[in-house]
Amino acid sequence: MRGQEARDQAERKAAMATLAQSSGDDIVRLWNEAGLPSQAELLRGPETGLVTLRGRIGGGGAPFNVGEATVTRATVRLPSGQVGHCYALGRDKQKAKLAAIADALWQDPARRKEVETGLIAPLRAALTTAHEKRRAETAATKVDFFTMVRGED
């Protein structure tokens, strides 16, 4: 059971990561296409604030504060009782609210599959495509060193 709980947490976190990285427009479009319910009670927010971003000295040493970033968060409760959260970079309040509802729906075993296939999977696929494109574009700028042949013979 402990293993299952850890797997659930990892999956929930992965879904939240996907939502946080996706644009509000994409979330709204897929939400409507999948016909997900958006009825929920707002317990907190959506509200915008700051987080202080930390780095590490030398890359892996002691932490230090680099600067702030805007973050918008929301917490919602579904009519069925599940409480969902969202924290995402930026100031998109509608995105934060929908992502919090998605998190709450995700926790409802009867709804999880619907959220995963209708919303999370297509968002994740779009992000992966964008990442792969970026990686391939960067890879094309990789330097291939070769040794000059000396013209002695």
Partner: protein
């Protein structure tokens, strides 16, 4: 005597109205949209985020538009906005080793895991103005090369294997990272606080100081161990969730400067390091930051403090361009009363001087006045 007066309200209102007009410029030219600034003046946006110390592209773009392209004014606007928001917390430290790399070069190793990736760089361009860009020519899609994703360990980790380079900067176990947005600056300061100040410091100021170290003022023989630019994921610990909540991705630039060091009473000969980490694609700034970080470690490494770049109080107290511009620019605001007082004082001193130097003439003047 000067009598305090009120006034200028209408003039100020009209000046701001005029500013709005001049900002907009010729109405037959289409107005700039923020997404155009975000996409096409991206490095300017990055500079405003870095020195404004706030990661938010749209806000930085708005600041640039509102400031008519005056970067320090834009940075000021962003800093002011920051103070209006509540703070949710401190993120977990980012791991630049897992960055989705968009550029990565090393000047110390030719062959290294992951390779040299030039990315979108100005390096090796001929710096010739491009008339085609002026004419609005279409731009080709970038080429792609399909490869397996390769791990890209930081160069510092590779160097560390030989034991000839100092480790990443450590602090005592119980050290809580300082925060210059919460506590006033105090000297001497720990390296973590210095790095926070440098990361938001003025690019031009840090560039000049870094340059001075290369020219011999606190020479420290630098090599770029590595520069990497790319996206890193942010996570925040919050009480309502049993795991760190993922916030999304930010782009940062990291510079690992490696410096030859002949040793001192405090440390053996080895390579020492300077570190730079800034928001966005800001390579020059990250390099300048790393040079300054290294120079400012002089007392830690037992070096003589002989140059401006090594003087912590001098560098950190003057690196913030919002503070600097505030103090310099306040000089143009009305100082009528101050000046009147000084004018009186100088008149009196001059009269005393003349009385001393040339008593006969002073007497004459006095009589004439009477």
């Amino acid at each position: 005597m000067y009598v305090a007066v009120k006034g200028g309200e209408a003039a100020i209102a009209n000046a701001h109205c005029l500013l709005a007009d001049r900002r907009r410029g010729d109405r037959s030219v289409p107005a700039l949209r923020l997404d155009q600034i975000v996409e096409q003046l991206a490095l300017g946006v990055d500079r405003v985020m870095s020195e404004g110390s706030l990661y938010d592209r749209e806000l930085a773009a708005l600041a640039i538009a509102q400031a008519r392209g005056d970067m320090i004014e834009a940075i000021f606007l962003v800093r002011a906005y920051r103070t209006t928001l509540p703070r949710f917390g401190y993120t977990n430290p980012i791991d630049t080793g897992t960055m989705l790399v968009e550029r990565r070069v090393s000047a110390t190793y030719k062959d290294l895991p992951g390779g040299q990736l030039l990315g979108p760089t100005f390096d090796y361009t001929h710096r010739l103005l491009d008339p085609e860009l002026a004419a609005g020519a279409d731009v080709a899609e970038p080429l792609r090369r399909e490869t397996e994703a390769q791990a890209m360990p930081r160069v510092s980790a590779i160097l560390a294997r030989e034991g000839l380079i100092e480790p990443d900067g450590e602090m005592p176990q119980d050290h809580v990272p300082g925060d210059i947005t919460r506590e006033p600056l105090e000297f001497p300061m720990a390296r973590d606080i210095r790095l926070q100040a440098l990361s938001r410091g003025d690019e031009g100021f840090l560039l000049a100081l870094g340059y001075s170290t290369q020219r011999g003022y606190a020479r420290n023989h630098p090599f770029v161990g590595e520069i990497r630019i790319g996206g890193v994921e942010l996570e925040l610990d919050v009480p309502e969730l049993p795991f760190a909540v993922p916030l999304g991705t930010v782009r940062v630039t990291e510079c690992q400067m490696v410096n030859q060091f002949k040793g001192s009473a405090k440390a053996p000969p080895q390579f020492t390091r300077g570190y730079g980490l800034v928001f966005g694609q800001s390579e020059r700034k990250a390099m300048a930051m790393a040079l300054c970080d290294r120079a400012l470690r002089a007392s830690e490494l037992g070096e003589d403090i002989v140059a401006a770049a090594q003087d912590e109080e001098f560098v950190i107290s003057h690196s913030d361009n919002v503070q600097a511009t505030g103090f310099v620019e306040h000089l143009k605001l009305p100082h009528y009363v101050d000046f009147q007082a000084e004018l009186d004082l100088v008149r009196r001193m001059r009269a005393e001087y003349e009385a001393r130097e040339n008593p006969a003439k002073a007497e004459e003047k006095k009589e004439a006045a009477e």
